[in-house]
Symmetry: C2
Subunit: 339 residues, 2 copies
């Protein structure tokens, strides 16, 4: 049976179908017009996803590609402390792409955005030999609430807002369905869901706004932080590099999905938590009292996993285990275009 393709209905036909994902008062002009709150900074972030590089038929339905793309961009906004205003989608695709595929992509994107009270506000579609999805997200933040990477200070506690390693575990289960036979269906679904439908932590921001009383006025800059999309280790290393500080992390304090430890070795579990990436949690550095307050508000599995030091190195301690302290480095991270 012939599936209707983009070529069959043409650019105008496809645009007409996709307009239902875009607010009616925004469509049909040279650009989208969005109201801004008073006294805000604009935050802008952009990501490109390419077929066979960032997603594949095997592990990612078009709905999931859309959800994940939207989630990754919202997570970048959360990492800057900004609440979302909307996203644009620049889509390149072959003429033989099924229209259903494109609609499902937009549907996934739209569902993720809607669950964070935001929306697709514009886009462009273009013919190409390979599917590429370029998303730009923009948000607003009060100038004194911008979360930067360079304001971590020795003595700060390091908070993670949730578990790590779950997205990587979910990906492994999708790629190798024979793995993790001891997991119950619920745990399995949960890990796979962590990979397919990650949830950016915009919900954390209002809690941060209430921490002022626990942050000394004398502090140079506000809370430091970023998201853990490229892995927890990468996040701590980037923050330390940008802030000119070091860190000590306690292995046993890193929140790991309980399903994970039933199935892989503790070494693999910690490696996935540190380097797996795509958990889209926030990694925040702030004064200890503020950190304790934040973790209390967020509840488990949010946790303080270590502290910022004056050293230049990021050290992974293992005070409960028998391992010796280990220095983390960026070269263990993820690189596109690597040979």
């Amino acid at each position: 049976m012939h599936q209707t393709t983009v070529k069959d209905i043409g650019e105008q036909g496809l645009l007409a179908k996709l307009q239902r994902f875009c607010p009616a008062d925004i469509i049909g002009d040279d650009g989208a017009v969005l109201p801004l709150l008073a006294d805000q900074n604009l935050v802008v972030t952009t990501d490109v996803l390419v077929d066979k590089v960032h997603f594949s038929e095997q592990t990612t339905s078009p709905e999931d590609v859309g959800w994940r793309a939207a989630a990754a961009n919202l997570s970048d906004l959360a990492a800057m402390g900004a609440m979302p205003l909307g996203i644009t989608i620049g889509l390149s695709l072959p003429g033989d792409t099924p229209v259903d595929w494109v609609e499902a992509l937009y549907q996934g994107c739209d569902r993720c955005l809607k669950s964070y009270q935001t929306q697709i506000v514009g886009g462009d579609i273009c013919r190409s030999s390979v599917i590429s999805v370029a998303i730009t997200a923009f948000g607003q933040v009060k100038p004194d609430r911008v979360i930067r990477r360079f304001t971590a200070q020795a003595g700060d506690a390091i908070v993670v807002t949730g578990i790590h390693g779950a997205s990587r575990a979910g990906l492994e289960l999708l790629l190798n369905p024979d793995l993790g036979q001891d997991l119950c269906q619920n745990e399995r679904d949960n890990l796979i869901n962590s990979h397919q439908r990650p949830r950016p932590r915009l919900d954390v921001l209002p809690h941060l706004w209430n921490l002022s009383e626990f942050i000394p006025a004398s502090r140079n800059g506000w809370i430091a932080g970023m998201d853990s999309s490229d892995g927890l280790a990468d996040a701590v290393l980037q923050i330390c590099r940008c802030s000119g500080v070091g860190a000590e992390i306690e292995k046993s304090l890193i929140p790991i999905h309980p399903g994970l430890t039933q199935w892989v070795s503790p070494e693999d579990a910690i490696a996935w938590a540190l380097y797996g990436g795509e958990d889209f949690e926030l990694v925040l550095c702030l004064p200890e009292l503020a950190a304790e307050q934040l973790v209390k508000k967020l509840g488990k599995p949010a946790a303080i996993i270590g502290k910022i030091t004056t050293a230049k190195a990021v050290i992974l301690q293992d005070s409960l285990g028998s391992g010796s302290p280990e220095e983390l480095s960026l070269s263990q991270g993820f690189q596109h275009f690597s040979p």
Copy 2:
């Protein structure tokens, strides 16, 4: 001789080279943070350009691809009445793309933006089998100065801010260097430049802000308009369709490049002006007194080319020539994915 390719230096190497095009205080976080003026709306617009579809080695150097991509997006902002805040570039490209090509692309983009006091504020790079450039531009505009397509009113004069058909003529000269032998070198360069280095009309906006005294307070909505990137005919038709009005345009009033009439028939010249596209001028509908004032401020070749009517049709009059009135239609326009 082996040219250094993207694969040779890796993603990090390429990013390091491209960072010089991005302000130092914006680099190296999850997103760019930009100050906003008080009491503004945000305007966002996005475009995707794909190799072999929107540009080719024959007619477009990488500098020109960058310039044109930036110019097209700035023109969309101008068409909304917005002054630019910056752009992001989402680049997909094969590993064997020469690094020089990518740097030249950014250079062209940067030069165009700098000449309008704006800049590249973020981006993403990703491996793909085909080059695709997704640009998102954002600008700010006071809510009562947004230029929309749906506020044209019967009686409004239609202003074009400059000549039409020059970009298409320049493209023809590039594709067929034997054409236009009667043109002097200066005219030839000028037409080619119109195609390769179009100039978005952001300079027009401050003139519009000074027209308040010529626009009755009773008017429902401000100036209507859009840019002529898809052709002058398309712009008038879109505005009329969105506003539920018609228009009469006088053929002899459409400003055409003088070089064009020496080289092609009057019929071809007018067809290129109406349907050629990519001239990136503004097409504005406003009360007659305001229009006259605007044309005086802008100087030639800006011109009033006709008026908005209560009819539903857009009629091309030829009062100087012998032709009978002709009704324009969107189907003569440009369509991607057309069979």
